[in-house]
């Protein structure tokens, strides 16, 4: 029973397309995150939601739009994909103030 699950695991798409990545957690955590890991494995936070409310919105292009329908789900929609968007995107969840994050297994996005 996966704690934080992301779909799809791999995504290959052409420049200019729009795509979505879904994330679900069954840990009962109140906070969810999106991180981007680049080709040098550097991890950078993109967004964070606490109880469906956006609390962290880093400097990310407007083409990226997160949506949290409830506190167990956090989706990431990307418009007009660019080559530079190619990366591994990780979803994570935590109980705010209660400890570290639990990460999903990642979505490897390749834009061609």
């Amino acid at each position: 029973d996966t704690a934080v699950s992301q779909t799809p695991k791999y995504l290959v798409t052409q420049m200019g397309n729009d795509k979505s990545i879904k994330c679900e957690q069954n840990l009962g955590h109140d906070t969810m995150y999106w991180y981007k890991q680049d080709s040098k494995k550097f991890l950078k936070i993109m967004f964070s939601y606490n109880n469906k409310e956006l609390i962290i919105n880093e400097t990310v292009p407007n083409r990226f739009s997160p949506k949290s329908p409830d506190k167990a789900h956090l989706n990431l929609h990307i418009n007009s994909l660019e080559l530079g968007d190619s990366a591994v995107y990780f979803c994570a969840s935590s109980q705010r103030g209660g400890g570290g994050y639990t990460f999903g297994s990642g979505t490897r996005l390749t834009v061609v």
Binding site: V4, F42, I45, N50, I55, F103
Partner: protein, 114 residues
């Protein structure tokens, strides 16, 4: 602003030897500190964390880390490395005042030779 430095990009260690990974953080108040491990093609798994109290923290897989405020460090150690410890290791810092956002170091790649 909080930040983390992992000075070693790559460490090679023999199986059975000890391992120490360095982590230095920059943050004004008491930080929350974490070590994560990422195996190839996998997500990140929490090894251990420090919030307060005892500065020597025990984690999973036989790892431990020591918080040294005077040195702004949180180094990770393992007395005897197994081949399965080959992975990428990330140190991270978070804080209450920063909405518990975790900032990660650039990672250290550990290679284990037989």
């Amino acid at each position: 602003a909080q930040s983390v430095t992992q000075p070693d990009i790559h460490i090679t260690v023999s199986e059975g030897a000890s391992l120490e990974l360095r982590c230095n953080y920059s943050y004004g108040a008491t930080p929350y500190l974490f070590w994560y491990v990422q195996s190839p093609g996998q997500g990140l798994q929490l090894l251990l964390k420090y919030f307060s109290g005892d500065t020597l923290v025990q984690g999973i897989k036989g790892f431990e880390a020591e918080f040294k405020r005077s040195q702004s460090s949180f180094n990770l150690r393992k007395p005897s490395v197994h081949w399965s410890d080959a992975a990428e290791y990330f140190c991270a810092v978070g804080s209450v005042s920063n909405d518990y956002k975790l900032s990660f170091g650039a990672g250290t790649t550990v290679t284990v030779r037989a």
